[in-house]
């Protein structure tokens, strides 16, 4: 009975996955195209929301610079469970065209492992949509997000928070 009940929640979640309105790299342009009339992701229930507190998944839109990494992790940390990670673009895998840059994080999957990764520089909206449908399946089957059990993001975030005592005191920031 309970499983059926939870399955219903999975079904409901899978039909309206909301994205945090957050971009860190140039691949966000193709997400923008995906929001547009031609690809129209809202027919699958996808929608951007400004607040991470209401979101179901976060998109790593390609490039993650070293300066933006704590912001990404903090945004992810603020999301309610179940929370999923969706990564697009070669930068989110190994740095892509900036593989040798010292201000770019080149091991994002080790820090925040994505549930679905779409390759390309940038991937086409069709490919991203395909990946999003894949993620819908994961949400529907109520599978755990990879980042909940893997990845070093909690340690990095904790180190970051220790730098600022004001933030570390707040209970809702301590890597939930």
């Amino acid at each position: 009975m309970l499983t059926k009940f939870l399955d219903f929640f999975g079904w409901a979640r899978a039909n309206s996955p909301w994205m945090v309105h957050y971009c860190s790299g140039c691949c966000s342009l193709e997400i923008l195209a995906l929001m547009g009339p031609r690809f129209d992701w809202e027919r699958y229930g996808f929608m951007p929301v400004p607040s991470p507190r209401q979101a179901d998944f976060i998109v790593i839109t390609g490039l993650i610079s070293r300066k933006v990494l704590p912001v990404l992790l903090m945004t992810y940390d603020q999301m309610p469970k179940p929370r999923y990670v969706f990564a697009i673009g070669s930068c989110a895998f190994d740095g892509g065209p900036y593989y040798d840059s010292t201000s770019v994080v080149t091991n994002v999957p080790e820090i925040l492992p994505p549930d679905v990764f779409v390759a390309g520089c940038p991937p086409t909206p069709e490919a991203i949509l395909d990946g999003l449908l894949e993620m819908k399946k994961i949400i529907r089957e109520r599978r755990d997000a990879k980042a909940e059990t893997q990845g070093t993001w909690r340690e990095i975030l904790k180190k970051e928070l220790e730098k600022n005592p004001l933030l570390a005191q707040q209970p809702f920031f301590v890597g939930g």
Partner: protein, 154 residues
């Protein structure tokens, strides 16, 4: 006023001749090679002669070639459509030059960026503090030739 006036003034005050600068694809340009200590006086002259539009500040690290740090300031006279390059060279072990942010406010951000990337100490600049790079790269002067990104270290 204008480039003719500037040429004369630069000759009388600093003894610097204007050189043709054919490398600017865009417009007629003159090059003045000055001593770094004169940068503030030169900037005031430029402003007075109508070179009121600042374009860019481009330092080049020539230390592998046995020279110092070359600074190129690009200015434009909007009425005359003439550009001027002010070129000066400072030693890399003590990179120091006066800031001209109060004469050309547009240069403030550029000087801050070059301080962050080359370690040039712009004397008198109001906020030489981190801007573009993250904390781990501060003080490593990433744009200098002596800094090699990790992926290229053999």
């Amino acid at each position: 006023m204008g480039i003719e006036g500037l040429k004369k003034l630069m000759k009388t005050y600093f003894g610097v001749e204007a050189k043709e600068y054919p490398h600017n694809l865009v417009a007629e340009t003159y090059l003045f090679e000055i001593e770094p200590v004169h940068i503030r006086e030169v900037a005031k002259l430029l402003k007075q002669e109508g070179f009121n539009f600042f374009h860019t500040l481009a330092p080049v690290d020539y230390s592998p070639k046995g020279r110092g740090l070359e600074l190129n300031y690009f200015f434009e006279n909007l009425e005359e459509k003439v550009w001027v390059v002010i070129r000066t060279e400072i030693p890399l072990d003590n990179p120091q030059i006066d800031s001209i942010h109060d004469i050309y406010p547009a240069i403030e951000a550029c000087e801050r960026e070059e301080w962050e990337k080359f370690g040039i100490n712009f004397v008198g600049h109001p906020r030489l503090k981190p801007m573009l790079l993250d904390d781990t790269l501060q003080g490593k002067w990433v744009q200098r030739k002596s800094y090699i990104p990790e992926a290229h270290r053999s």
